[in-house]
Amino acid sequence: MSKTKKKVKTIKIDLDKCNGCRACEVICSAYHANPKYSTNNPARSRIRMIRDPIRDVYVPVYAGEYTAAECMGRDKYIIDGKEYDECGFCRAACPSRDAFKEPDSGLPLKCDMCEDEETPLCVKWCLNEALVYEEREEEVDEEIKHEDVEIGLKAMVDKYGLQNVIDTVTRMSQKS
């Protein structure tokens, strides 16, 4: 299979540099308000500080995929003598917690890396550089999405009939 280059947007999270201020939540919720910046409400943010100051736990987590069911397990991690809940690193909007859900509707939220901006705004507002934006190029397998091809062909089939399309494809493959 052939390889192509793909730009991957990533955010490097340095827990040691986090001062726990939640500016990331502030600007995220404001940016995603409609109209933009018209409201502020960290409960709508797509990044959440999982914080427990007394245990010195400070973990910024980005909203990832929605999942309909709670997971099994929920283990604990001990890192440098400090105990973290597994959920404290998890990006899922899931039934076990209120993070990454719109407070009114309960609909799941997902980080979009602030599409229109040069860098995600949580990074821009993190003056302590706990969040650092990184772009890297990755070689990825060229992916063929058969469903996408099918959608395109279906329109042709509707217009010209299946047999005509098969004949055309056969002719094209012989030419090349």
């Binding site: 001062n19 726990g20 201020c21 404001a30 910046y37 409201t39 502020n40 409400n41 007394i54």
Partner: protein
Amino acid sequence: MRYSETGFNLEIDLTRGNIERVETDPKLTELHLGGLGTNTKILWDSVSPDTDPYAPDVPLIFSTGLLCGTPAPGANRTIITAYSPQTLLMGYSMMGGFFAPELKYAGYDKVILRGKSPSLVYIWIHNDKVEIRDASHLSGKGAVETQELIKKELNEPNAHVAAIGLAGENRVGMASIEQGRSSASRLGLGAVMGDKRVKAIAVRGTKDINLARPAEFIELCNEVLEYIKYRNANPVPNVMTILQGLGSPQEMLHVDEKWHTENFVWGNARVRRKDFWNKEIEERWKSVQLDVRKRLISCYNCPMKCGAIITVPGLSTYMMKCFTKLTYSMAAFVDDLDFGFRIAQRATEYGVDGFSTPQTMAFAVELREAGILTDADFEGCPSDNQGMFYWLLDRIVRREGIGDILADGTYWAAKKIGKGAEQFAHNNIKKHEQLPLKLGMLNPVYFLMYATGEKINITQIEGQFPQSPFMTMEERQEFVRDWIQVPDEKFKQYVLDWEPRGERSNPYYPTVDMSVDIVDWQEMIHYFDDALGVCAGLSSFPLKPPYHIHNYPKIISAATGIDMDEEGLKKIYRRNRNLLRAVNVRRGLRRADEVPPEDHWKKRFPELEKQLLDAYYKFKGWNMDGIPTKETLQELDLGYVAEDLEQRGILKDE
């Protein structure tokens, strides 16, 4: 729609257990902004001036500032007011942390507590759901411990809790209200909370705060952040380390304490130890601090790191900021910082003020040495300094024996003890303990701030203008070059002309009129901050801060939609300043009370000091007794205040 504020207060009558969500008048926001401004208005309107601070009808108000909950960096302060049991004047104490924004998101600008609960309770605010809950199981628990227990019992790790410890429950006059890394410590408001039998307020909110002109507002916030970045990269040169940067004094970051330990005074604010700091102490203190300090932390939406998580081996974790790490060690003459961190842990759980408490304990030790207090008063007290301080702290907080007398602070304790004890309560202004600082030459600007500040706490009055002159003209020019914060260019000239000695030096320079100008500017920014809920550490306190008179009107206007220019904003400052003065005047504050400690400066100038106070009062539009005149009040839409003061015979028709 209301912008930048919710437009609702939560009014709780603790006696009857009644809770109401009350819409506020938007006109009051235009007149007073919010926070301290509207708190003062509520206090003026609702309580007769002769009320005892512990009377049930005195409202204890937990207020957000007008900008809290918006993306404005550092807008996170909770402004708590009542009558102070210590000064008997209006007491306002503020805390950073996360409480105020959370309260805004829950849908309230203020929580107003009235009455007294029949039993110990805590209040749980979760958006529209508000409950008064039993707290009998929390009785006697530490202030930090209580916050954790409540979050756990509510299963709300994201709730923020303001709590009192045993000191507040026992109405100790120097009791604080603790919340996360912050506390409202000064003026004994924790005692008022305890008197109302409220152990804690917990809040969780998930609603929106609206902004009037969003794009413009965010642009202004971005400018503030950019300037913070610039200032963090460019410390102010030629001033001492703790004055170079933004934030509150970076006591958790810095380990070099040569300046504080040698320039501030030890014991009962008495002894300067000029050769205290040496290599051995430096190494020991550094290792102690770095060992116990787990992380430097901030308040809500602020890039600074003024606080720290402190874990001392064998003790439960707590959080600390600012100067408390030194106050206990220095008051007790203990040369080991480890003691400071250890006793502060107990003091934080008890919930007491880190200035008044060690000062009061050192005062007791002096009284014993002077024979005014006796061995009988100290029965069971260990003989070493550390043990003695722990013992005194326990007695004060539990109000046992001599502790019961000491619990209201040095002024009231001295009055009760008599026998000349008053001479030992020497570091007070308006009955309230001050920083342990004793200096040589009178600084006219500081004289005025100490004498007249309604906050009665210099760190929340001073700021902006350098504390001392620069040594050379080059340094002065360098300082004024990018000084964009000045309200008027003349302030630059004051700095350029101010010299360490000679004709243009303290006490006669800055001149009387200049001193008044400077003080007015510094006060003004503090009054903005305290109404807006912006931390002084990004505004009124440090040199060259990101918030100032030139961007505040734009920020307020973009957030609220209220038309605002510099003149309009200055008028609000004068209105709030005069209303607060009027509240205190109605409670008896007069010129005779505006006196810094006699020994604050070695060199005093009675004639100059009189001129300074005269000029300050005149500038403010007050009479020579410090009372706002009828004309001043009327010009500030406070005609109703003038009428009241006239009816009471405080203002006389002249």
